[in-house]
């Protein structure tokens, strides 16, 4: 699965795509693959604040519950309501099924995240464990 090079990634398997001011956030293809069939997504309400490195919601597969960690701090401006009824969209295409959009509090926070190449290397090592 190719990881888009204009995204940044976390070691907790979230992706973030930013224009410098606002950003979309999702989970990676690797994450959906290891979770399996996704059946439930819990996200914060529009207007909530999220903080980099802190949990902001959860995603559940048939088998497991997994916390979501914010790749950056900011204010939630939009939540993907489609995932309430069709969470399987994440399995189908994790890199286009965004969870929510935020306005970034500090765009420089993104500098410390992984590039596509680094993330790919990271998951290759995870998978080999």
């Amino acid at each position: 699965m190719p990881y888009p090079t204009d995204f940044k990634y976390t070691k907790e398997h979230e992706w973030i795509k930013s224009d410098g001011k606002s950003a979309s956030i999702g989970i990676t293809s690797y994450a959906q693959g290891s979770l399996g069939d996704i059946v439930f997504v819990e996200l914060p309400k529009t207007g909530s604040e999220i903080t980099k490195g802190k949990t902001f919601g959860s995603v559940e597969s048939v088998k497991a519950v997994s916390d979501l960690y914010a790749p950056a701090s900011g204010t939630v401006t939009d939540v993907n309501g489609e995932l309430n009824t069709a969470p399987e969209k994440i399995n189908e295409d994790a890199h286009s099924a965004w969870l929510m959009k935020i306005t970034l509090k500090d765009p420089s926070e993104l500098n410390s995240l992984l590039s596509a190449a680094d993330y790919e290397k990271f998951v290759a090592e995870e998978g080999a464990k």
Partner: protein, 381 residues
């Protein structure tokens, strides 16, 4: 103390381990075994689950244990250590039963097969193999019978689903239509002579479990031949993930969840498999007393009313937020498309239609007590 508890726990593998890995199964540790949880190549847990409900799926269940009792007093021994009435079994018949502690709580649940006049096979859980064998050995010493642990002798493959009979019939000379549910027969399967074929399973669906020699080459050959022969029925390999959701839809107990050494037969609602008129089995006296004393908790089925998924060990609350019980198993139900759970609650909350809450990440989420089993397979006319 049993020697096995002192040894370093090494992860055990079934003879089909290499086949699972080759097929790209996602592997997990389960009760000390390295087992497939799902096969992404087969579409994952939901696809596997629904294949068993509507077609056929196969499972490697070789981690299950097998204890054989033979000899003149084999029946008396089985009667003493198990709660169901094995004297009612004809040769070739099987029954669901349980081994109990004197307190009336569970050592394990078992399937008792009567293979011959004085020949019984107990099929036991993977996580309780050594405990069960030691328990059976220690409590049958007074009987004139021979005890064998056959757990490592068999690769056990479950062929489950409404098309299971059609699939297996292609590979055996045994007349499967003559084998009723919870009966066993023997026949040639994939060229192997005298294979034990039981019409049993853990999926709340029709199906068979076959017991073949545990060597890797034979096991792989049979597994692959079943998959090949099953193509026309859409067979898929299934892992422990769908095995769990299938049994939960059917409200079938899992040791360590619905039943354990702290839960008794009445609480678990397994009354119909416990034959009190048998009088002298281990646990009988305590169960008589427990019935007279009344129950403090009862196993119920829950269906989530509000949005949320109950999971194992989540708390059950009353409307006011007071903790009243706990979830033993909870999951989305892939075929029923509901979020369901089994839970222990006090009797006053156990009536069908009662509403309770399940605490999910700090929030009380509404659920309703519903009849069990959640799923009952359509019977053929």
């Amino acid at each position: 103390m049993p020697a096995v508890e002192a040894t370093t726990p090494t992860i055990r593998k079934t003879a089909l381990n290499g086949v699972h890995r080759q097929m790209g199964a996602k592997m997990v540790e389960f009760n000390g075994w390295d087992m497939p949880v799902e096969y992404p190549s087969a579409g994952g847990i939901m696809a596997e689950h629904n294949a068993v409900r509507t077609g056929v799926g196969i499972f490697d269940v070789s981690h299950m244990g097998d204890i054989r009792l033979t000899g003149p007093e084999a029946l008396a021994a089985v009667q003493h250590i198990s709660m169901n009435d094995a004297s009612r079994l004809a040769v070739g018949q099987a029954q669901y039963s349980a081994l109990l502690y004197p307190q009336g709580t569970f050592v394990d649940d078992v399937i008792v097969h009567r293979l011959g006049d004085d020949d019984y096979l107990l099929v036991i859980n993977a996580g309780t193999r050594e405990k069960d064998f030691n328990w059976v050995r220690d409590n049958t010493r007074q009987f004139n019978c021979k005890l064998e642990d056959l757990s490592d002798n068999f690769t056990q493959i479950a062929i489950q689903g409404p098309k299971g009979v059609n699939l297996l019939q292609k590979l055996t000379d045994a007349n499967l239509s003559a084998v009723k549910f919870y009966w066993v027969t023997r026949g040639t399967v994939c060229g192997l002579k005298n294979v034990l074929i039981a019409r049993t399973g853990y999926t709340a669906e029709d199906g068979f479990e076959i017991y073949i020699p545990a060597d890797e080459a034979t096991s792989a050959k049979v597994w692959n031949e079943i998959l090949e022969a099953g193509k026309e029925f859409g067979v898929v390999p299934c892992g422990l993930g769908s095995r769990n959701t299938l049994r939960l839809e059917g409200s079938l107990s899992l040791y360590g969840h619905e039943i354990s050494d702290t839960i008794n037969v009445w609480e678990a609602g397994l009354d119909r498999f416990c034959k009190m008129e048998k009088l002298d089995f281990i646990g009988h006296a305590a169960l008589s007393k427990a019935k007279a004393d009344g129950l403090k908790k009862i196993l119920v089925g829950l269906e989530m009313v509000e949005r949320g998924i109950a999971r194992d060990e989540y708390k059950v609350l009353d409307d006011g937020g007071r903790e009243i019980g706990y979830v033993t198993s909870g999951s989305p139900a892939p075929f029923l498309k509901k979020n369901i759970a089994m839970a222990y609650v006090p009797p006053e909350f156990a009536t069908v239609g009662s509403t309770v809450k399940v605490e999910i990440r700090g929030q009380g989420v509404k659920a309703q007590v519903v009849p069990t089993p959640f799923y009952r397979r359509p019977r053929k006319i």
